[in-house]
């Protein structure tokens, strides 16, 4: 009887460790995602990216950690003044989004980040990379929308890309407006699958609307 109790106790301890591990994953992810929403500097994004990368190294079956590493890389581009480092950031982003893609194929969210990385390449050298990566980027976006027509981030990304494309190349404010309006509708209706699934973008939407108003 004592032995039985002993075994039960041990099992409980291990089970606790097991759920603790899962809880720890979700909690750690939640903390970092919350931090990411308030990130405002290169150093801060680097730190969060490193945090996600550590989780990715431990939780090799979860697609969200590498997804957020890739997303951090693309955000870091906006804060990195040394343009010669942009290409390394895109390389690392590509590497981690490919990892996420292999863990969760045909995921609309992953295709949005793939599109962002393609447009990141264009920012590095528009004259050289524009012709190659613009069609690649829009193919990813098309796939993101096909996979989930309710993904607000796909419409947001489309609106941003269109806004920053000169009107003579089929972009501009007027064309971006309806896309961003769709993004707004989709954001209002969007419910993330769980607490760590991608749910970002409302602040980006607010920022871009501010830019458009200028």
């Amino acid at each position: 009887m004592k032995n039985l109790f002993f075994i039960a106790l041990l099992t409980l301890a291990f089970a606790q460790a097991g759920t603790a591990q899962n809880d720890k994953f979700v909690k750690t992810m939640e903390t970092n995602i919350a931090m990411m929403d308030t990130a405002h500097s290169l150093e801060f994004y680097q730190k969060i990216s490193n945090n996600f990368e550590r989780i990715a190294g431990r939780e090799t079956k979860e697609w969200t950690p590498p997804y957020y590493v890739a997303l951090s890389q693309i955000q870091m581009m906006s804060f990195e003044p040394d343009q010669s480092k942009w290409s390394d950031l895109c390389d690392k982003g590509d590497q981690f989004i490919a990892m996420a893609d292999s863990l969760s194929p045909n995921n609309s969210e992953i295709y949005v980040v793939k599109c962002m990385l393609a447009y990141g390449r264009i920012r590095i050298d528009p004259m050289t990379n524009g012709q190659k990566y613009a069609p690649i980027g829009s193919q990813f976006l098309q796939k993101a929308i096909t996979l989930n027509p309710d993904n607000p981030r796909a419409y947001l990304e489309n609106g941003i890309n269109t806004f920053y494309t000169p009107p003579m190349w089929g972009g501009g404010k007027e064309k971006a407006e309806p896309m961003l309006a769709t993004a707004k509708e989709k954001f209002d209706a969007f419910k993330p699958a769980n607490s760590i699934a991608p749910n970002w973008g409302k602040n980006v939407y607010a920022f871009i609307m501010g830019e458009m108003g200028k």
């Binding site: 002993f6 680097q46 550590r54 004259m127 190659k132 098309q142 089929g170 896309m179």
Partner: protein, 733 residues
Amino acid sequence: MKNPLLLVLCCGVMLAQAQTTTLKGKVTDAKKNGIPGVNVLIKDSYDGATTDANGVFSFTTEEKGEKTLQASFISYEKYEQKITLAGGEQTFIIALKEAFNEMKVVTITAGAFEASDSKKSTVLKALDVMTTAGTQGDTYGALRTLPGAQTSSGDQDGLFVRGGSGSEAQTFIDGMLVRNPFFSSVPDIAQRGRFNPFLFKGTIFSSGGYSAQYGQGMSSAVILESQDFPEKSVTSLSLSSVGVGLGHYELSKDGKTAYGGDFNYTTLAPYYALVSQKFDHPKNPVFYGESAYFRRRTSPTGILKFYATASQGDLAISSDNLDSAGKKNLFELANTNIYTNFSYADMIGGGWKLNAGFSFSANSDQITNTYSYGSFPGTFKVNNSLTQGKIVFSRFFGRLSALRVGGEFQHSEDNIKLPENSGFTIDPVNDNFSSLFAETDVYLSSKIVARVGLRMEYSAFLNKSNLAPRLSLAYKLNDVAQFSFAYGDFYQKADSLLRWHSSGSQNTGFQKATHYILNYQVIANDRIFRVEGFYKNYDRLVETDYQAASYTLPVLNNNGTGWADGLEFFYRDKKTIKGMDYWISYSYLDTKRKYIYYPLAAQPTYAANHNASLRIQKFFTKISSSLSATYSYASGRPYFNPNRPDAEFLTDRTPDYHNLGLSYTYLTNFYKAFTVLVLSVNNVLGADQVFGYRYSTDGKTRAAITPPAPRFFFLGAFLSWGQDRSKEVINNN
């Protein structure tokens, strides 16, 4: 819980879970400077930290026992160390090694200018080749702004590199020799390259010391690499002041097959009606071009490419006859050219890569001219063809070192029919030429590389073989600067055109050039500086037994010699002025040679001592425009004056050459087509350009050889409709 043992055990489990180790320390680079942003962690755990601005880290972990401490950061090699965690505090000083990074690895730069978009360390981008003002999209025009090349080819076709003649610079597409890279020659007017620069994703311009994979060019190799796959289906239309073009490229749904073709029609009649020309044109120049493409991905690593193009041209020019006033020399040219290139590349196991290629090309010129000095009146027919196969096996060793072995076979036919009234016939020349080569790139470290190569060639026609060693070295001094050295022997058969004026070319052997090149290059902050010095020795050049007044065909021998040396500078700056990119190149050349009919060693007619160019491009992103200017200078070149005695052969010099080209490019959207509008003008300032003089038979009258018109204007619109439907899909959602 009456059992104390159990209590202890329980506490033990909890204690074990709570027992923490503190890890702290610093991550530095090789120079002991702290690296911020490094991810320091216990492998397979969440525990870790990011280093601060000084490279310092500190974190605690509840892990215990044997673990791996890891530190990683972009552009450094991952660091791993086995550690034992047993509570307390541990301190680490971690020095990260820089990762092998393309930008930080030494590259062989002696004699080589590379334009590529896929490599980071190149001096030029593919687009630079297309947007050089005043060249109207001619690849060779852009290369002429680089050090080593003569800025002006004057009235002659080709690329003249470091004292070498036009025929000493060879063009290769996907590894295979191109027999007729330029449109057929017309007297006094230099012709442009046949191939559209948009066909190529990479261009290497070698001004010497090039790889053992290539041969038969004593001066230079222009190595063009064709585009792989289009990203989408495209329909294109071009409308310009000199013609129209229409093309379509289809990408299959699975993205594995692409095919297409284009048609071009060029006519200079409307242009000549507007802008007066020096010559009369009984037949205005007309060209037709047709191309077909096919590409297929045969496996994730395999690609098969096929390209075929044909062109037909027709023109007639009449110019003043210097011997009898009022009479005209008529020159008519009808040309047909076919070029095909088939290539296949894939990994074949064991780390080996196979590159195989096959190419057939043929060119036919029918030339009719009335009597003029130095040639027979009547109709000439000049036909040549080249059938070739090439195979290369390559394998990487370690991260960067590589071995390449391969061979090629070329069957060439040259057939010249002189006018019947000339009384001469020239035997056709058919050659079976083969070569074998082996080359290895050995990286002794990321700072030192040696490329050692050997090439063996055999010509059945000449019944001679040669063995050409090649060696290049490069040493990287620091992150930005490096030295590079190249040496090599380069053999070449005599120019087939020599047979117009001579006999017995089968008795000649290979001509030989030996190159020694030393290069220093600095690339930093979007600025590039290069300086290169060279010495080139020519030996066994083909010479004729010179007899000025003889009307018998002279006999060829291999007694010619020559040399060239020089110093060249290149500076490119994309940073100092925002939105502006410029490069300056200057080449000093000193060269003399005794060959063909030269009575003594002289500076050849195509060599100017000083060449310089300045190319500026300014982008106006707000109005989607770019303005570019190219200014080229060359000091006077020698020209032949029949009134001079042999001792003063080629001692006269033409005036200096100046050319300012301007080009304005505007990008827009027209009926949903991505549209590029180009306006360009050559020799804006109308500088007098004299390439030499043509003398009457008695030497008393002469006429300057000048361009057909002081300026050349070009206006064109290039439209492309991408069949990329993603935007529509998004908009309709």
